[in-house]
């Protein structure tokens, strides 16, 4: 009889309904936050572009926003971000992929179960620690080899950011390689292939979409990286080809202005949002491309 009494014809279960609403509200928080951030970015960026033309911003080669006569060419910041990111990728991609191949294809189960958690632990180190590591260890070591290197320099920034994204590439690529079915490896061994041939010609090409996605996610993390590069590479907007000099990345500029006493509302203040919007667009684009690669090139196995 208990069951029958709980069936209410056409009635609403208020308990169930309130739980559903509560859960939906929690989801809404992140949706609203994202929307609000984008709204503020767009609004302030539009305000900035009422003072500075998009062409001057995107193609100008001098970034002097806080002093008179001011100039708002973002290229030096973009360049700073680019050389740190490219340098980091050059270090992290080959080593990260090689580590992933070792872990997935060569290491024993015991080695793998020890090393994999260590890699994931490395990903949890606060990035400011990497910054200090660059300043107090990497740069002094570099100085013994290259005496003319500056205290703040793009090279040590690139190196520590590379070390920082290395575990991410190794771990995600390892997952992609492990997802390749064993039956495929066996098929390759059965025609007289060596481990190296199986790995390079069957397993890695099969996992390529996942591997590429791990590269792009890591690069997008390198672009967005703030504390390590601010500490390592300094705060000098610089369009120089030399990695031995101090530079400034987009993120480092945002830190500099946020910490300083730039009055709210002025053009100098609005540069913050214009740079942030550009940064957001770049990382968004990279994330979209990596998602697309994952979907487009995923081979289907059952």
């Amino acid at each position: 009889m208990a069951i029958r009494s709980s069936i209410r014809k056409g009635g609403v279960r208020w308990g169930e309904f309130s739980i559903e609403v509560g859960l939906a509200c929690c989801t809404l928080i992140s949706v609203i936050t994202t929307a609000a951030i984008i709204f503020v970015l767009v609004k302030e960026t539009l305000g900035f572009f009422s003072h500075v033309t998009p062409a001057e911003f995107l193609f100008g080669t001098r970034w002097v926003p806080l002093l008179k006569p001011s100039s708002f060419g973002v290229l030096p910041l973009l360049w700073g971000t680019l050389i740190v990111t490219v340098g980091a990728a050059i270090i992290a991609i080959p080593i990260g992929l090689a580590s992933a191949v070792y872990l997935s294809e060569y290491a024993s189960a015991k080695v793998r179960s020890t090393v994999k958690p260590v890699l994931e632990l490395l990903a949890g180190i606060p990035t400011v620690v990497y910054g200090y590591f660059a300043l107090t260890f990497v740069t002094p070591v570099l100085k013994t080899v290259i005496p003319q290197i500056q205290v703040f320099n793009a090279l040590s920034g690139a190196i520590v950011v590379g070390l920082m994204i290395l575990p991410m590439i190794a771990s995600l690529s390892d997952n992609a390689l492990r997802a390749v079915p064993d039956t495929l490896r066996q098929g390759a061994y059965a025609v007289g292939a060596t481990s190296y041939e199986v790995t390079t010609q069957v397993v890695v090409p099969t996992a390529l979409s996942g591997i590429m996605a791990s590269f792009l996610l890591a690069i997008s993390r390198a672009i967005g990286e703030t504390m390590a590069v601010t500490l390592a590479a300094g705060a000098t907007p610089n369009l120089s080809m030399s990695m031995l000099e101090s530079i400034q990345t987009m993120t480092a500029y945002i830190v500099q202005v946020s910490l300083g006493d730039t009055p709210a509302g002025g053009v100098a203040y609005q540069t913050l949002f214009a740079v942030a919007a550009l940064l957001f667009l770049i990382t968004l684009l990279l994330n979209i491309i990596s998602q697309w690669i994952l979907r487009r090139y995923r081979e289907v196995y059952d």
């Binding site: 066996q186 098929g187 390759a188 061994y189 025609v191 007289g192 292939a193 041939e197 069957v202």
Partner: protein, 267 residues
């Protein structure tokens, strides 16, 4: 080639077989982490014949088959004892290179496992990595014809192998193995994932292939074993219960257990 003690010769057919044996198992035992999967199995594999290995699930027949081209090497904690003699050489002798073994003893697996490459590359890859350079087109065509797949794929060799049906994929895997011109072809339940029509295709194919290849097939389909094979080994719980000519195993088995299995009373 291989020597057998009289106790290992479990039926009259085997005596004649000794001379034509291309592969001979002698007291082969295989265990996983100390747990026995195959115990002291001995029988010969006749050249240019089909030998089937039958038995209930878990009897060790697939494990035994994978020992014949050292595919068990990839499973951790496997120990193989006894001898598998091929060309007067024990395949498990220390100086034997397992890669070389697999070039001569090919394998087709339970589930079709084509590489995610084009149809052409699936066939050409094995010979390619093993140093073959010239007349690759002819080899691919010949292998696909041998596998009775050529007519269906000749206009789409550049398409992904994954676009083929399950039965076509399995014939592609057979073509891939044949392209290596192996002495022996091992097949681990090659039809278990296929529909009856594809299965009939593959059985026809095996029948034609035996004029030039030696085939060892593991199957739990007794009709299949009796239809296509010349010799049959019946295994149970890791032991070889009986080995002999297929007709004898299915019509006049010497062992009670064999008769119970082939007449479908268990398994």
């Amino acid at each position: 080639m291989a020597e057998f003690t009289p106790t290992q010769l479990q039926s009259k057919g085997v005596t004649q077989l000794q001379d034509q044996a291309i592969l001979a198992l002698q007291d082969v035992s295989i265990s996983y982490s100390g747990k026995a999967a195959v115990s002291k199995v001995s029988f010969p594999i006749a050249k240019h014949k089909i030998t089937s290995v039958i038995g209930p699930s878990g009897c060790g027949k697939s494990t035994l088959l994978r020992a014949l081209n050292r595919m068990n090497d990839f499973i951790p904690n496997v120990t193989t004892e006894g001898k598998i003699i091929y060309n007067r050489q024990d395949l498990y002798a220390a100086e034997v290179d397992p890669v070389e073994v697999r070039r001569n003893i090919g394998m087709v697996f339970q589930k079709p496992n084509p590489f995610p490459k084009t149809i052409y590359k699936n066939v050409a890859w094995g010979p390619g990595i093993n140093g073959r350079k010239d007349s690759m087109h002819e080899l691919v065509e010949k292998s696909l014809k041998q596998a009775a797949l050529w007519e269906e794929v000749k206009d789409r060799l550049d398409e992904s192998a994954l676009s083929l049906s399950g039965g076509q994929q399995q014939r592609l895997c057979i073509a891939r193995a044949l392209a290596m011109a192996p002495d022996i072809l091992l097949m681990d339940e090659p039809c278990s994932a296929l529909d009856p029509i594809s299965t009939a295709h593959i059985e026809d194919l095996l029948y034609r292939l035996k004029s030039s290849y030696t085939i060892v097939i593991v199957t739990h389909n007794m009709q299949q074993a009796s239809r296509i094979s010349d010799y049959t080994a019946f295994m149970e719980m890791g032991d070889l219960i009986e080995f002999g000519k297929t007709r004898q195993i299915f019509t006049k088995p010497h062992k009670q257990r064999t008769e119970e299995y082939v007449t479908g009373r268990f398994g």
